[in-house]
């Protein structure tokens, strides 16, 4: 498969507050939300960004779409660096790349009908000649997300829809411009269990129908395994392990991935009783004033002296990328 998108050394730093005295001395401090993340997305694949809250997964995705301005790095899409496109030419990129947000209760305008929500992107981009054409496109996309018959849903407002139906509308809105690349930010975490599978299966079907490529953000490794072909495990703004989902989950190499996987609950009491959890101290430190060396060092059950001195680089080990001195 060819590479559709390549992220190289992406950095997003937000300025943090410094005291008045420090500001006089010209001191600056940053929250390094994303600090040197690299990975590749192959055409037609589903790459999952996985990590705990504050690991920088959402910021990474937003920076790729330029919904936040990155501090540095490159995002190469079909040979072009997205980060160098002038702002006024961004509209073309926004047509190619869409996002589905986490909360369908907040991401839809409560005062717009389903029809207005779906036709607005067409109008903004001046893609349609006539009203019939517009109606036809809206109808088709509603059918594709299985809100049928479409006429029944076009006139409804978000409050007249269930959570699952709202997320279908949000997906339809992302699809209506015929994008190639979609970022899905925890698209089912606000939905009930029985609705989740519907939406996950729908997204997989749409990938085949529309020839889509997904960047799928989730904190749930089981969901990543259900959806993904590749996985990027993030910790405190760094990618610590990048590889095929199956391989990484079966045989994690980075200590953080090992810890994380050992703590994922398993929906089977027999298996749950036999699994061994790897003990770990504390919670992730603040992304301001990071410790020298490996960011996971202070909590790592396997840390050696070198881990507190040198920051490990992401490098190739047996077909995947790992950032750890010990592998």
């Amino acid at each position: 498969m060819e590479t559709l998108l390549k992220v190289e050394d992406l950095r997003v730093w937000f300025p943090a507050r410094v005291s008045f005295i420090e500001s006089l001395r010209g001191k600056k401090r940053y929250v390094k939300a994303v600090d040197g993340v690299s990975f590749e997305v192959k055409r037609g694949s589903v790459v999952c960004l996985v990590g705990e809250s504050g690991s920088g997964k959402t910021t990474t995705a937003r920076a790729i779409l330029r919904l936040v301005e990155p501090t540095g790095g490159k995002v190469i899409y079909e040979g072009k660096n997205i980060l160098e496109i002038p702002k006024k030419e961004l509209r073309k990129w926004r047509k190619e790349a869409q996002i589905i947000f986490q909360d369908p209760y907040e991401s839809l305008d409560p005062r717009m009908t389903v029809y207005d929500t779906l036709s607005e992107p067409l109008r903004v981009n001046k893609l349609i000649g006539s009203e019939e054409e517009e109606r036809e496109l809206v109808s088709k996309v509603l059918e594709d997300v299985r809100l049928v018959p479409p006429e029944e849903f076009m006139g409804r407002f978000p409050h007249e829809l269930s959570g699952g139906q709202r997320q279908r509308v949000a997906i339809a809105r992302a699809l209506i411009l015929n994008p190639k690349f979609i970022v899905a930010d925890e698209p089912v975490s606000m939905l009930d269990a029985s609705i989740r599978t519907q939406i996950l299966n729908l997204m997989m079907d749409l990938r085949d129908m529309y020839g889509l490529t997904y960047l799928y953000i989730t904190h749930d490794l089981a969901q990543a395994r259900y959806m993904g072909s590749d996985i990027v495990v993030m910790y405190l703004g760094k990618a610590v392990e990048v590889g095929s989902v199956e391989e990484v989950i079966r045989e994690p190499m980075h200590p953080y991935t090992k810890v994380l996987i050992s703590h994922v609950p398993v929906p089977d009491p027999k298996v749950a009783a036999t699994r061994k959890k790897i003990e770990i101290k504390g919670e992730p430190p603040s992304p301001i004033d990071l410790p020298p060396g490996c960011r996971f060092g202070p909590r790592c059950p396997f840390a050696k002296e070198i881990c507190f001195k040198e920051e490990p680089e992401l490098r190739w080990v047996n077909g995947r990328m790992v950032a750890c001195h010990l592998v």
Binding site: E52, S53, S162, G163, G164, Q165, D192, A193, S194, I195, R196, T197, Q198, L200, N201, M204, H219, L221, A222, Q223, R225, Y226, E246, I249, V259, L260, I261, H263, V264, P265, V266, P267, D268, P269, K270, V271, A272, K277, I280, E283
Partner: protein, 321 residues
């Protein structure tokens, strides 16, 4: 398991609304044994939190227990006055509310918030109450010296531990935990679940674990009840429920949770949405979404019938028509 700490018999709870009564809990019965962790699972709106609030008698003003009994030991809390309930809450049963870790008073020290219960309810001196708070902190795995900290100095996991410590302050026999790990990260989540199991082992308390997440149930519970649209549709020992689920809804719900172990395959989703409890469908509440629905399912409500040892399910496919 010892004797029952909690027994609920034929409980019916409705909420009065402008549009009519919302039938939140319909003829639910189950019991929780001494030292047992009982998982009550279901999707939002299935009535699981309403059951917890009924046990605590903390239903909102428009919530009414229409019939049934809630026995804590020999006492039926349905019959108790508000004054009598003061002797039951905290002492016999306490509750860890959903999101309570974010509801700690930000301007009071965490230790004082725990001690307050003892000072107010039991008339203890502040010093003695703080000592007890320290004891509880070390029990739940927080350094006792941190009773003097404010909530913002605690991480999410520590706040949840403090809330659990608070629930234990007057030695209740039963702790109800409503979605205790929902907003927490994976590693913290697993540590809190381990804590609840350890407290059960060390103190012999019973825990009623309310959650939408079946993997949380699988990690902790001895027995499980599955609720759908205000009804208990199946209950069993955890290994039987996951190993041999009987109700089509239970099967579908288990399938809605992908796992990091086992075969990787595509699950069939349940179609449609859960019903509106203002106007629930006639017959079995699951029939509009059930792939196996028969004529009888649209007419009559199935009763719980025995499927195995300590295992019952309410479905006409199993029997009971």
């Amino acid at each position: 398991m010892g004797r029952d700490v909690l027994r609920i018999e034929d409980l019916v709870v409705h909420y009065e609304t402008m549009a009519g009564p919302v039938k939140a809990v319909n003829h639910v019965s189950f019991s929780i044994g001494e030292g047992e962790i009982f998982g009550l699972a279901g999707e939002s709106g299935c009535g699981k939190t309403t059951i917890a609030l009924s046990i605590m008698k903390l239903l909102p003003y428009n919530g009414k227990i229409l019939s049934g009994r809630i026995l804590l030991g020999d006492v039926d809390v349905v019959l108790l006055t508000e004054e009598e309930m003061m002797e039951v809450r905290w002492k016999k049963v306490s509750m860890v509310f959903q999101g309570a870790m974010n509801a700690l008073n930000p301007v009071l020290r965490v230790g004082d918030q725990i001690a307050e219960v003892l000072v107010e309810k039991e008339g203890w001196s502040k010093e003695r109450a703080l000592e007890r708070a320290k004891e509880l902190f070390s029990l739940v795995g927080i350094d006792p010296s941190r009773v003097y900290d404010y909530p913002h100095e605690f991480s999410g996991g520590m706040r949840q531990r403090a809330i659990i410590a608070m629930a234990l302050v007057l030695n209740p026999q039963l702790v109800i935990a409503d979605e205790p790990v929902t907003a927490l990260d994976v590693v913290v989540q697993s540590k809190i679940l381990d804590l609840l199991k350890r407290l059960r082992d060390e103190l012999g308390i019973s825990v009623m674990m309310i959650t939408h997440d079946l993997s949380v149930i699988a990690e902790t519970s001895d027995r499980v009840g599955i609720m759908y649209a205000g009804r208990l549709v199946e209950h069993a020992r955890a290994e039987d429920l996951f190993g041999e689920p009987a109700h089509p809804y239970t099967k579908a719900l288990i399938n809605a949770f992908p796992s990091i172990v086992g075969e990787r395959k595509r699950f069939e989703a349940i179609r449609g949405d859960p019903p509106n409890l203002l106007n629930p469908p006639p017959g079995c509440p699951f029939h509009p979404r059930c792939p196996y629905a028969m004529d009888v399912c649209r007419e009559k409500v199935p009763k719980l019938v025995k499927v195995g040892e300590e295992h019952e399910a309410a479905c006409f496919l199993i029997g009971g028509a």
